[in-house]
Each structure stands twice: as structure tokens, then as C-alpha cells.
Symmetry: C2
Subunit: 325 residues, 2 copies
């Protein structure tokens, strides 16, 4: 059954935004939570692509769920947990703006930003914990995976020997795992059979991996007016997929030059970096991997019964393939 | 029924330490969690007074619980959540040592400390969420209360007009609420009647308030070799109970001098501060309030059936009354 107001991706997003706003207003009205929520909502309500909750809501319907309000708590939970990690990441990545606003640690200071993130973690878990212990375990494991993924990423900062396996361990933890958990939990709540639950879990994982590799690409090629400044990852020494590929493909003086550019990077060396990346074909390689992951995702959902929600999941996949911010 | 190995407070602590260690080892052995746990355990396993879990375990038995393993998950959860807040507090309070070790942000950097705290929050919630939705709600509300209590405390930094009501709103959120939640949840798990559940909740609140006021006192009078350096709260501009009382009791030039000392505090003005605090009788006032809260706590548990666990709760109260670190 298609729900009223869920026949386009925009309408799903609108439904989510309304529900999120209602939730935030309710919590703000509690004296005990007002100080924390009034702070957290500055980032939470400042927009954002809302990929995670939209995928969750569509996964629920595509898995046969008939009452979208059942899945809304988890969708809100996913966005709260995601925003919590953004607020905390922005602190140690020293990010200056988020969702078009100053980051919380800049506008309110370190303590307030740490506490606001902690508070969103609490709320996100509370919503997640309203479901069965199976759901709680999946949500908790995906969050623990974010922490370990981030820590693994730190271990590999500036590490030119980072392998594709290392890379996937990092992004499966910090990015793809939460996508996967959201889709899997939505299918479970919808009462899907185990085959479809597994399909939605794997679908989320593939889409999440593609999502991260697109982010990696945009760091090198993105339109700065659309999102974060170019080259942020390179400045931070993050070993993104195109860089790992280029380090593998280049040999001799080119490899030495790339190692030197990455180790002693500055904005002045941007052209030099891009030239080496182009020479190694790493952008095309990354684009190919994005397509592979997304095509695998599309294959997986072809196993689900035909529905408008399944079509919209495929539309989200195409949006992910072509997004420019 | 008294459990084997639960007839002294030391034996309760030992039982808890063994269970915590087992839990930590289990999590460390998972590839997905090893990076985060190996970091978090540096603080988690470095000792600590373990008041919260000990109170929870005793509250469970005093409420008629007969299988301590039922309450152990919540006791571990309480310690994980408490340690998460310590790791994060230490960042913005710029604390240098914790449980006799360098704080995580000093030994491993800001990012690692934020992530380790986030990870312990996740684990703590996961353990809490194994119980009924009633328990989850209490745990989540107490954690949201910590965030709001901390934020309220920031609003009142250096605010000489802070009232006792403001003070209690702060400490009920950040300290007493979690004590209360732990005792209340333990009683619920033990299957206690609603009267006893309420008694354990209020008992936890009273003990938690006393616990915080003792901390306030120790900041002014404590033996530095036993715990944190003296005057930390004063340096940070935190409005502790003795300071709020002194500002209320003193008049004319004494009041002006105290306001000046607090506003322009430095170690050189320590003697001056202590003299004014003594003149206002604020230490005795704080000691009296500690006794009032603890005596109210003792009154509350007198309503429970007689048991060794009830006696040990009373012993914990006496330890709290006289602790020097």
C-alpha cells in the first residue's frame, strides 16, 4: 500500500521534515531537555540531505510495511545519530560551517558542541530502543562501527601504504554500516522475510559505500559553491579511494612525486596533484566503483516485490550516482 | 536471598570489577570494536570509586532481586555512561589526570577522546536497552538530564546571582539524576512494588545530591593528595553550594570582597576566600545539607524489608558522608 504523501522523493522528505520538526518541538517543550535541544536543533534543523531517513522510510515500504509511522521513529533516530556524529566530527576536523551555518563549536564553544552531540546520541538511542532487541543490537553495532571506523581512519592518516582493504574497513564502519543498519532495521520492522531483510541490509551497504566514494571524488572535483571546500581530505591526510588507487598505479618518478605532494601538501600543489591523479586514471576508477556498488544495489532490490517505493529506492540510487554536493 | 560474594561492599565491588573486566575483554575481542575499546578501557579500567554500579547492585538485592546477573548489565551500563561523561567533561574542563592516569585527550588527542566517549555512550545504551521500554526511558531521560544540567551549569558560570534552585536544577541533572535512575531501574528489574520503586528512586536522588555537595566541599577543603587539585571549581567559575550560600549570607564590604575574589580569582587569593567562607558558616551549612540528604535517604530505605543488602546501602551512605576524596 502506498501511503498518502509518499509518491515522490520530495514528498517523503517533506513527511520526514514535518515529523522531525514535531519531535524537536515536543522535546524543546520539556524543561529538562530545552537547554540541550535548543542548541542541538541549530544543526539538526538546518537542512541536510536526509539520505539516511529517506532510504529508511522507502526501505520500510518496499519491504511491505503498511504504516509509515512505525518506521518514522527509526528514521528520526538515524538522522539524530548522524547529526551527533557530524557535530563531533566537525570539532576535531576543525570544520567551520555545516549545513550552511557556523559549526556549533565555533558558535558556542567546544563544551557546548560536545554536549549537544552527546544529547543527540541519547535521543537517537532512545528512539531506536523502542524496538526489539534485534533492532537495538543492529543500531548499537552500527554506532560502535562508526567509532572504530573513525579511529581506523586516524591510524591511516598520511599512511601511503593504506590498502583498499583498509579503506573498505574504514568506510564500512563510518559510512556504509549506518546506511545498511537503517535499511535492514526498516525491513525488519516492516515484517519482511529474512531474504528481503538481507537484501535491504546489503542494499544499504552498497549505497553507503557508493555514497562515501562520491564524497571522496567530490573532494577532488567538487564545485565549492555546492558544498565543502575542495581538497579538505587531502589537507587532512585522509587516504581516499582515488589517492589509494593513484599510489598503486603510478610508478617510478610519478609515484615519488605523488608521495611527495601528499606528504608535503599545500594549496600551491593542487594542479600537480590533479595531473598525477588524471595520469593514473583514478577518477575514472572511482567512478567505475561507484557504478559497481550502485548497480549491485539495484540488482538486490530487484528481488523485492514491485512497488512505487522500490522504484523510488532506484531513483535515490540514480540521485546518488549523479550528485554534485 | 543474599548472593554468594555479596556480603560486604568490597565483595560487591570485586564482583562488579570481575564482570566489567569480562565484558571489556569480550568487546575487545571483536575486530569491529577493538580500536574503540582498546582506547576507552584505558580510563574505564583504571579504577574509580564505582559508586553508581555498587548502589545499583545493592538496590536490586534490597528490592528483593534474587539473581544478581539480572542487574549486572545495568550496573555496567551505569559505569560506561558515567565514564563517557568523564572523558568528555575532562576535554572541556581541560583536566590533566583522571583515575590516576593522563586524560585521554592529553594522551591521545581531542579526536580520540571524543570518539572514545561516544563509543562508551553507545555501549552503555546498548546494555540499558536490553531491558523494558520503561527502563530505556528512565536511562535516556537521565542522560538527557546530564546534558541539560551541564549546559545550565555553563549558563551560571561566574554568575554571582545563582540561586539554590538553580543549583539544584544543575546537580539534579548532572549528578543526582543518574544515581536516581540507577537505583530506580534496579528496583524495577528486581520486581519491586511501585512503592519500593519510588523509594529507591528518591533514595538515589538524595544520595546523589549529597555526593555532589561533598564534591563541592572537597573542592574547598580536600586533601590534594587524595583527589583532584583544590579550588578547581572556583577557578572555573562554578557556582558550588558553599559559594552560593556565602554570597547570600555575607553583607556590605564582606559581600563585596567575596564578589571580587570570585570574579578575579587567583591562587594568591585562596586564604582570603577561605576566610570569607568560614565567616559565613558556609562549610557547616553544606555539611548540614549533606547530612539532611543522606538522612532522608536512610529514612527512605527503612521502608524496605530488612536485608543484608539494605544494611550495605546504609553503609554506602555512611561512606559517602565521610569520604575525603
Amino acid at each position: 500500500m502506498i501511503q498518502r504523501g509518499m509518491d515522490t522523493i520530495d514528498s517523503v522528505r517533506d513527511l520526514f521534515e514535518d515529523s522531525l520538526e514535531e519531535f524537536v518541538m515536543e522535546r524543546s517543550s520539556m524543561a529538562r531537555e530545552e537547554p540541550a535541544m535548543s542548541l542541538a536543533m541549530e544543526i539538526l534543523m538546518a537542512g541536510g540531505k536526509r539520505y539516511r531517513p529517506i532510504l529508511g522510510l522507502l526501505a520500510y515500504e518496499a519491504s511491505g510495511g503498511e504504516d509509515i509511522s512505525e518506521a518514522m521513529g527509526l528514521a528520526i533516530s538515524a538522522e539524530l545519530l548522524h547529526t551527533a556524529t557530524l557535530i563531533h566530527d566537525d570539532i576535531y576536523d576543525q570544520t567551520k560551517t555545516r549545513r550552511g551555518r557556523p559549526t556549533l563549536h565555533l558558535s558556542h564553544g567546544l563544551a557546548h558542541a560536545i554536549i549537544a552531540g552527546d544529547y543527540l546520541f541519547v535521543l537517537g538511542f532512545e528512539l531506536g530502543a523502542k524496538h526489539s532487541s534485534r533492532i537495538v543490537k543492529i543500531v548499537a553495532e552500527s554506532c560502535a562501527g562508526i567509532a572504530s571506523g573513525e579511529l581506523k581512519q586516524f591510524r591511516h592518516i598520511g599512511d601511503l601504504a593504506t590498502t583498499p582493504e583498509d579503506y573498505y574497513a574504514i568506510i564500512d564502519g563510518k559510512t556504509a554500516g549506518p546506511f545498511s543498519a537503517g535499511c535492514e532495521c526498516s525491513a525488519i520492522i516492516a515484517g519482511a522475510n529474512e531474504g528481503d531483510v538481507g537484501r535491504m541490509r546489503d542494499f544499504g551497504m552498497e549505497v553507503g559505500r557508493a555514497f562515501q566514494i562520491v564524497d571522496d571524488l567530490l573532494d577532488l572535483t567538487g564545485d565549492e559553491s555546492m558544498g565543502k571546500p575542495k581538497g579538505t581530505d587531502v589537507h587532512e591526510g585522509k587516504m581516499t579511494l582515488p589517492l589509494i588507487h593513484a599510489l598503486t598505479m603510478l610508478h617510478g618518478p610519478d609515484r615519488e612525486q605523488l608521495a611527495d605532494v601528499l606528504t608535503n601538501f599545500s594549496d600551491r600543489r593542487w594542479e600537480e596533484l590533479i595531473e598525477l591523479i588524471n595520469k593514473s586514471g583514478s577518477l575514472d576508477y572511482a567512478k567505475q566503483l561507484i557504478c559497481n556498488h550502485l548497480d549491485r544495489g539495484l540488482d538486490l532490490i530487484r528481488g523485492l516485490p514491485e512497488s512505487r517505493a522500490r522504484e523510488m529506492l532506484a531513483e535515490v540510487v540514480e540521485i546518488s550516482r549523479n550528485r554534485e554536493s
